[in-house]
Amino acid sequence: MGNAKPETGAFFPRNRSLHPKAFTPDYKTSVVRSPQKALLSLNDTISEITGPVFGHEILGEKDNDLILNFARPGESALGERIVVHGRVLDERGRGVSGALLEFWQANAGGRYRHAKEGYIAPLDPNFGGCGRTITDDDGYYSLRTVKPGPYPWPNGVNDWRPSHIHFSVFGHGFAQRLITQMYFEGDPLIPLCPIARTITDQAALDQLIAPLDMANTIPMDARAFKFDIVLRGRRSTLFENRMEGN
């Protein structure tokens, strides 16, 4: 969090039109898992605007390096080596420092390391598929991994997930909590995917697609993709009603 003044303002109301609706029947699992009654609007109280802090001391040296963090000594994960980097910003365009990012993905063949996973593509003994990092004072982060493969999934009879990395993002307030997925520029599976298509606002979907970033590619090593993440912004505390006891 650096030396920045603690933020105590309420979050901007969430623009739910850019998020997927709960009930999206083309993504079949949502049918019985989507609330059907209207959400109850709740103006943020201190319960919503506060949130825990994650210090850099929780991080291990290789936490943001999926090529090495599960690999046997001297070995590394198989696949197309990539760097993913960018900034976590709020809706006011300010970098969010100290944000906890956790990411998970399939291996280069499209296979997850999970008991429930049944795809025939093989496990990579040197790839676990999880990583995490914390943004710096400017909201910047980076990770290294292999490009995840696309994989088929039981929904329609021939549905395939585009290559994607799952991101869980923890900003400064519990109301900012977000899980999303990053896609790769140019992947023809994106417009076909029932999960990607739960987002009906094209600009919002485009915002999940990371462009190839040749300027930050490491020659003879790894290509780079840029992925910025925007969390909800807060009202300025200026002229705002003070909370009791403040």
Partner: protein
């Protein structure tokens, strides 16, 4: 033409999917050796002040089947009603209480379980006290945007009766969906995603 607001748009949510455990609780999912411990597993230690409680329950889909692949996070005040957060301006929370917990549900039974303390009361926007409550955030395969709800304590009748959030709920018949019931040290709180007893979810 007026000036531009220059406001960015929040990144859209996507479902946590069936493998959220790999990213958020890898040790639970069987991936060991990457992190020492899964985050959010321990909210209390032996020095934590306040009344120790357990929160236990399940999440049911519209067919009445308990979810077994979901992840729940909770956020709450300490026993004195203070949040362990830099945005807490009213005092310093118990350093031995994180206030934040994360649990996967049991893969066979669907039961989730948090060991925590009973939270104190915190003020509403206008200064009135809210009843003790825990904020919850639920993600899973099939849930496109994390669901926010609150758990209140059924045995806090007086505080609940004057809680500024509870009293203004139009359909009071739904208020019991937010109430956890006590048995010994355990508060039981089931969440219903759909149906007659659908839990109240909040747009926060």
């Amino acid at each position: 033409m007026a000036q531009q607001l220059n406001q960015l748009r929040e990144t859209a949510s996507q479902t946590a999917g069936p493998y959220v455990h790999i990213g958020c609780v890898p040790n639970f999912s069987g991936i060991s050796g990457v992190y020492d411990e899964d985050l959010g597993i321990a909210m209390v230690n032996e020095k934590t002040a306040g009344e120790r409680i357990v929160i236990e329950g399940r999440v049911f889909d519209g067919t009445g089947t308990p979810l077994k692949d979901s992840l729940i996070e909770i956020w709450q005040a300490d026993s004195q009603g203070l949040y362990n957060s830099p945005s807490e301006m009213r005092g310093t929370a118990d350093p031995n209480f994180t206030g934040w917990g994360r649990q996967a549900m049991d893969m066979d039974t669907g039961v989730f379980r948090f060991e925590t303390v009973k939270p104190g009361r915190v003020p509403f926007l206008d200064g009135r006290l809210q009843a003790p409550h825990v904020s919850l955030w639920i993600v899973a395969r099939g849930i496109n945007l994390g669901l926010n709800t609150r758990m209140y304590f059924a045995d806090e009748e007086a505080a609940n009766a004057e809680d500024p959030v509870l009293v203004r709920i139009e359909h009071q018949v739904r208020v019991p969906t937010l109430m956890a019931t006590r048995k010994g040290d355990t508060y039981h709180f089931d969440i219903y995603l759909q149906g007659e007893s659908e839990t109240i979810f909040f747009d926060i």
